[in-house]
Symmetry: C2
Subunit: 228 residues, 2 copies
Amino acid sequence: MLLHHRFFCPHSRFVRLVLAERGVEPDLAEARPWERRDDFLRLNPEGTTPVLEAAESLAISGAEGVAFWLDDTDQAPPDRRLMPEALTQRVEVRRLMRWFHGKFFDEVSGPFVEEKIDKRFMPSEAGGGAPNTSILRAARNNIRYHLAYLGWLAARNDWLAGPQMSYADLAAAAHLSVVDYLGEVPWNDDAAAREWYARVKSRPSFRALLADRVVGMQPSGTYADLDF
Amino acid sequence: MLLHHRFFCPHSRFVRLVLAERGVEPDLAEARPWERRDDFLRLNPEGTTPVLEAAESLAISGAEGVAFWLDDTDQAPPDRRLMPEALTQRVEVRRLMRWFHGKFFDEVSGPFVEEKIDKRFMPSEAGGGAPNTSILRAARNNIRYHLAYLGWLAARNDWLAGPQMSYADLAAAAHLSVVDYLGEVPWNDDAAAREWYARVKSRPSFRALLADRVVGMQPSGTYADLDF
């Protein structure tokens, strides 16, 4: 399999985590969606990452696209599935995936990555340049209520959506991980969220992500520290 | 079942279509997300429509949330399912749902509904007022390439995602229907898109939608005309 991704795109990170949990190691190709290359647009007309070329003429785009496709074919025993079997839990997992891949991305991880990372590498005609400080200020404000909500979810159950780890945990962790790289997660605000994140981060599937680096930008002190 | 919706929210319309195709008639409650009422936020912390109260303590939010929940429990014979059985077709249905519920909404139906309908009913402190003409201009520009893509999809197969009608068709039709009410679909641009829409619109599941009216705003001449 070949995964077209960006190292600090949270949706791409989610796919890397999910595949690693399933023991699949895809080849990686770095995409630059702002270049709008024809060969990439043929794979995914939306022009966004991630895109997984899973087989000849089967390109699956988007974090949820890959997750649901894997669920359609998952052979894992019920207690190890990332999408649980019980109907109400499935509803909750999908709700939280949407929360993190949609709302958290729009309000927190998307703005942080675009302003602090992507704009360093984009040419100015594609929107590159210095970060917009008012966008950063809004994202710093937004992460506080998101972290409180995450802590509330983590205190309610062993894992975010219920008694077993699911796509919901990997979605939340993928988005948090890029914000954590940038040192923008106020971990001291919420002990339950922090304890939950330490557990997810300690999984072998997380290892490759913790080795990623942005050229010219060191990660925060907590980023790769499993006992932060 | 009780559906919290807005009559001209395309995601809500999708859920009404899907339920009607399955012979389910939910009670309807009109929501005003900008009021951010506590009882509504308890059902869906995102504060968005639609939300389907399917059973005691089972509230399902979002167009895709409802669609995938229904698919989990669908008893229809394979050739009448709105989510096909074949893996590659399932991938394509999900890709197109995301295209219409995400990209088309962001670029076309969302701006049109907000500027031309919602802003008439929102108090000015919540953003109500006159439509922003530059946003409308962008949406008018965007719909042209979306209609061409839709026509290309419609010409490729009997239905958008393959040989049978699916969630993809209902998603596209739900979003187009609100833009059509506003007279903003350049139907003469694409015969294949127009022929496909006439077929979807003629289904009994569409009837209730064609009777909806915005107070003080007549629908376009094509809206309720099955032979437009």
